[in-house]
Symmetry: C2
Subunit: 391 residues, 2 copies
């Protein structure tokens, strides 16, 4: 196991009606003037935004609104949010929504106290200072409610890039699984796929002797695969929603990824797809993961066979473990299809003729260093081959 | 799943040589005058105490020493520590050792700013204020390095009681698995047993539909059972030590126990044994767990069968799940015996004639309310029956 540090000081309030205490948590973590940051109309229509505002009113906390975050959140709104926070003297950012609202909130939080362009942080500069952030989560997916990561797409060239910084961990996150019950099935499935991808990215490691984190990741995968069909069959299954929501947080707060190298090839290869075609991140991952795994399988057949056996229940073929490894990838495909995810380029609206451009951007776009992936270092040719496996 | 809050803001520095940065962490978390609290001579003989002091010197942090913590830490030294901290104007408590040193440090930390008797906290009063605490862990066992719990034995009547309080979570914990390589095999095994017990106490729940925490607990158990024989065979197996050390923290920081009722009967029944006979806590748990589980099995055969199948690899007897459940308890016994743990009253030095007294203390000793256990409410007669199963 590699040396590591782990620090995840987010306060989680989990369960029914917890959003009604949002104001209390903002106060507890020092907020007096809040930017409420959210996406489209669903948080308004559902009455969630009103309930959150009421809880702020009850604590005499002032606030301003900034809605309009879109999936694959954009730089334009971040700049607008930074300006608004400065002019309104905001001291706390509250995201109400999913990973997009939270990632956009993190970008604003980092940008406000910074003299330069916030985009510097998405070009390799690490974030050392940011306004405090809180979240009220409405979709189990990105794990941004407990992570130190943020992904933003710059409208100048549609570059989708990420940043990290311990100061980006939310001070608190309110997780009410009931809020996810009204999600369209496609979004629910995209969220489940994103969670599964966060687990696979950590599972695919070159670090040896990491049984505890292996078992944690497998346990979270098993729970997810067990609960997913329940919410697809019955969107109002609160307990299944709850299990998935807590899995989503644990999949990405890195408690199961410490002390081991990680991959992230599926994410980097997907990011070019959602940047170019504006498809849902989860849908892109459903297409990229099986392709990446098939391409990389021979790098460590045992690891893929272990996942196949322990997570997907495939019989171990001791004579030829490669069969088991392949069966596991097939099982993953079947699972993704069963929850309504796409499996091919065409289903995403992606085009074969774009492959050279996609592969070039993935490997040589700004801040990229010629390869993607920590498990296998994939060059431009490898990545093009992988995109072709998605056809 | 039940509503819950989860807040675990401990900074973990994990890996080789991390103790050399202790001073840096004390400074980071605001300490300027430190009480170094430790047990016997091993931390002196190994040079660990010197390395920790050197790291404090490097940051110009002043300190005073208080050694002498014994297993099942006592109230007497806590009173002494409180007096010393007050007279020396200590503002940070640093425990160097295992669960005993850390629990004693937590008691001192709570006692210093409190006007009354610190023992009030172990009689049902919750801790709201405490000096900040840091730890340098030398044994994977109690999980106190990441928990908000502390257990102290009062010398007046040898009452062993616990307290909780979010302020008791260490600000930082330094976890170097190499420091555990010099432990005697018996202490290593006691630690492994304590970790396993922390997992079982959370596993035995009456809350339904908690797949994610079930799978996490099972995953940690699987990792522990896989790694334990390695360290028993080769005490210098760093990676196995590392896996066990991180498992020990996760088993008790409650990330896998949230949103579900828990048991703690095995602990409460054991505490009377270690209070009366001063046996090792882990050894007492090795004797109490199988007895408690056998007695409670019929309350939820499926749960015990699930553990037997998923953790211990027992074949599921679909015609008679009770067979599987019993097999799982037998597998637990075999595991405990394989790492050198006692399984009977006699091996602990406990006496049959003390059973009525033990059962009475467990159920009616001060702060007890007539029963123990959250999974099955066990009265004095039940507890006496359970002690008899240990004969």
């Amino acid at each position: 196991m590699d040396n590591f540090t782990f620090y995840a000081p987010t306060y989680f309030a989990f369960g029914k009606d917890t959003e009604n205490d949002t104001g209390k948590y903002v106060k507890q973590f020092g907020g007096s003037k809040v930017l409420i940051h959210f996406g489209g109309g669903s948080v308004i229509r559902s009455g969630l935004l009103d309930r959150v505002k009421k809880s702020l009113d009850e604590e005499n906390i002032a606030y301003v609104d900034l809605g309009g975050v879109q999936p694959n959140p954009r730089s334009g709104l971040v700049y607008k949010g930074i300006d608004l926070c400065r002019s309104e003297k905001v001291d706390f950012i509250l995201a109400v929504g999913g990973g997009s609202a939270i990632d956009s909130a993190k970008a604003i939080a980092a940008g406000v106290p910074y003299n330069g362009d916030f985009w510097d942080y998405y070009q390799g500069r690490s974030v050392k200072e940011a306004l405090p952030i809180g979240t009220v989560l409405t979709i189990a997916a990105a794990g941004s409610e407990g992570s130190y990561n943020s992904v933003i797409t710059h409208e100048n060239g549609m570059l989708k890039r990420s940043t990290t910084g311990e100061v980006l961990r939310p001070k608190f996150s309110v997780l009410n699984p009931a809020l996810t019950q009204t999600l369209p099935p496609y979004q629910t499935a995209c969220g489940i796929t994103d969670i599964l991808a966060h687990l696979y990215e950590r599972y695919l490691t070159n670090t040896k002797q990491v049984e505890v984190t292996d078992r944690l990741i497998e346990g979270l995968m098993l729970a997810l695969v067990h609960e997913a069909p329940k919410v697809m069959a019955n969107p109002n299954d609160y307990d299944a929603r709850a299990n998935i929501m807590w899995t989503g947080m644990l999949a990405h707060n890195n408690s199961c990824g410490v002390g081991r190298s990680q991959d992230w090839a599926s994410h980097d290869i997907e990011h070019e797809l959602s940047a170019l075609y504006d498809c849902a991140h989860g849908a892109g991952l459903a297409v990229s993961m099986p392709a990446v795994f098939t391409y990389n399988m021979k790098h460590d057949v045992t690891r893929f066979a272990q996942a196949a056996h322990r997570v997907w229940g495939c019989h171990m073929d001791f004579a030829d473990p490669e069969n088991t490894a392949l069966e596991g990838i097939q099982a993953l495909r079947r699972f993704l299809k069963s929850i309504g995810m796409p499996l091919t380029f065409a289903e995403l609206g992606a085009k074969e003729e774009d492959i050279p451009k996609l592969a070039k951007m993935a490997c040589h776009g700004d801040v990229r260093t010629g390869t993607v992936g920590g498990f296998v270092k994939l060059n431009e040719q490898d990545v093009a081959n992988i995109y072709r496996l998605m056809l």
